[in-house]
């Protein structure tokens, strides 16, 4: 069951967004996040909201999936909102002893909250519509120019995709190790922080040993299949921009122009 959870939770469907080149989606997500910081009024955020809603509809992914990512940042969100409300100086609208909430604080909190939430949802859309391998292929391609300054782009991408492939396997192995040690009376739950850390050793040692063994085996298997680095490799699924990608870039340019325009006109 654990193996069904893929990192970033890819949701298989057949939508326009699914069919876009991963590079388009990377660039799009990046630009969208930038736009969240360019917009700074509510009409501006309104435009961002329309854009985001449009993407959600286009993705054909159920809305509930979008908001799953928010669970992780709930704490940060709460902190950000509360701190901004209480610590921003300005016109006080509510006071209880030493705690004061200012109008400026509410505005700032609102801004931060929207940016945070939209950032997470926006990134989720990308990971929900792109397979892990497409993500690493896209990144490898985008980082290509870095080769000229001797950044090992291919190797980094290869490491990332192997990591993605093995995460579910290692998670399942952790479960098995835990059970085997619990069968010998190991206790992973009780005790203070120091105790708990010590108790992790019977879990971590076999896990690390296993991870290294897997790495060794995998290296042999890769060599046996003629892997010798990035040079001379062809691609089974080469990335190619299609018409819809150019259209997408067009829309993105338009959207960014709008955001800059809003900023200049003070909206």
């Amino acid at each position: 069951m654990i193996r069904d959870i893929t990192l970033g939770q890819y949701y298989p469907a057949d939508s326009v967004l699914h069919r876009l080149d991963p590079r388009t989606k990377f660039v799009g997500t990046l630009l969208f996040v930038i736009s969240l910081f360019i917009f700074h009024t509510f009409p501006g955020y309104g435009a961002a909201t329309i854009f985001l809603a449009g993407m959600i509809v286009l993705s054909k992914v159920p809305v509930s999936f979008m908001f799953r990512g928010l669970k992780a940042i709930l704490v940060i969100l709460l902190f950000t909102v509360v701190f901004n409300m209480l610590l921003t100086p300005g016109r006080v609208i509510w006071q209880l002893g030493l705690l004061k909430i200012t109008w400026e604080g509410m505005m700032q909190a609102g801004r931060m909250a929207i940016r945070l939430v939209y950032l997470v949802v926006g990134s989720s859309i990308m990971t929900l519509t792109t397979t892990p391998n497409q993500l690493t292929n896209g990144l490898e391609n985008l980082m290509g120019p870095l080769n000229r300054i001797h950044v090992p782009v291919h190797e980094i991408a290869m490491m990332m995709s192997i990591a993605l492939r093995f995460i579910p396997i290692l998670m399942e192995e952790t479960d098995k190790i835990m059970k085997a040690q619990m069968a010998r009376g190991a206790d992973f739950e009780s005790g203070n922080i120091i105790q708990k850390a010590k108790n992790m050793i019977p879990l971590l040692v076999p896990l690390f040993v296993s991870a290294f063994r897997r790495a060794n085996d995998l290296a042999m298997a890769m060599e046996a299949r003629c892997y010798h680095g990035g040079e001379g490799r062809t691609q089974m699924k080469p990335l190619q921009y299609k018409g819809r990608d150019y259209a997408a870039y067009g829309i993105l340019v338009g959207y960014m122009a709008l955001s800059i325009a809003f900023r200049i006109w003070g909206i």
Partner: protein, 283 residues
């Protein structure tokens, strides 16, 4: 000349102490002379520590002999310049199904070998299609390998090797981590590959049932090649097999015991049909 040929092949493992000096040397393989003919289904038997895995890793130049020579399709494995050609000619499948699958989607993993070889994109797709078909895994091409059974994973690994269009496949205990059904699946796929595509199969194993249909069997013990012949010839030498830490099929064992008790049974009984026929002839 055979597709795999070894003359006086030897390999030593060295263990070094903290100062880099040799602490222990073990002779994993000693003076092996071997000839494997193209197109045959060959098996290499031996107990753990007999040197069979070490020998297997020489067949695709993962290891280079410390003594003697090994040729793959006429190429000397010591020649670094031939390394990638050798590995394309002699593919290898390993024991742990998970630790040899790289792709997150079955078809992507099968394409890994051809990608490394620089095969043009269209050809990669043709090879992937053909290989998946040859092992019967076409229906699973879009699946994540995590959701497959052990036997299915090994078939994907075999397809991945076949996509490189090798002349022979070496399999190092491919069924050791599988359940009986998985073992059957893999053996069936291998036999079909051997018969339909004429790929030479070299199966390293210690499961006797897998060896019964081989064309030729080699037995290793303590780094040396101690027996070779057809399955019948090998299994009839029950006492020697036991000395090598190996078993014979239950049926062969029973025939052997009955013969020891005085019954006149032929020496090379391998299958249950043969035993039943022979016993009925006696009665």
């Amino acid at each position: 000349m055979g597709i795999i040929r070894a003359r006086k092949l030897g390999f030593d493992y060295y263990r070094y102490d903290e100062n880099g000096r040799i602490q222990e040397a073990s002779h994993a393989v000693r003076s092996v002379d071997l000839d494997i003919e193209a197109g045959q289904f060959t098996a290499v038997l031996g107990r753990n520590g007999s040197g069979k895995s070490t020998l297997a890793k020489h067949m695709n130049a993962l290891l280079i002999p410390t003594e003697g020579v090994l040729w793959v399709d006429g190429m000397d494995t010591c020649q670094e310049s031939e390394l990638w050609k050798i590995r394309q000619k002699a593919g290898m499948v390993f024991q742990n199904p998970d630790n040899q699958i790289i792709g997150t989607v079955v078809e992507e993993d099968v394409g890994f070998g051809p990608e490394n070889m620089g095969v043009p994109t269209e050809d990669i797709w043709k090879r992937v299609d053909d290989s998946l078909k040859a092992v019967g895994m076409t229906a699973y091409r879009y699946h994540s390998p995590n959701k497959l059974s052990g036997g299915q994973k090994q078939r994907v690994a075999i397809a991945g090797v076949m996509a490189m269009r090798p002349r022979c496949i070496v399999l190092d205990e491919p069924t050791a981590m599988l359940d009986p059904n998985g073992r059957k699946e893999v053996l069936k796929a291998l036999r079909e590959l051997n018969q339909k595509e004429q790929v030479t199969v070299i199966l390293i194993t210690h499961y006797m049932e897998e060896v019964v249909y081989a064309d030729k069997v080699f037995v290793m013990d303590q780094g040396e090649l101690v027996m070779q012949g057809s399955p019948r010839e090998i299994f009839s030498r029950v006492e020697e097999m036991k000395k090598c830490g190996l078993d014979v099929p239950q049926v062969t064992m029973l025939a052997h015991e009955l013969r020891k008790s005085g019954l006149k049974l032929p020496e090379d009984i391998l299958t249950r049909e043969e035993l039943v026929d022979a016993l009925c002839q006696l009665s």
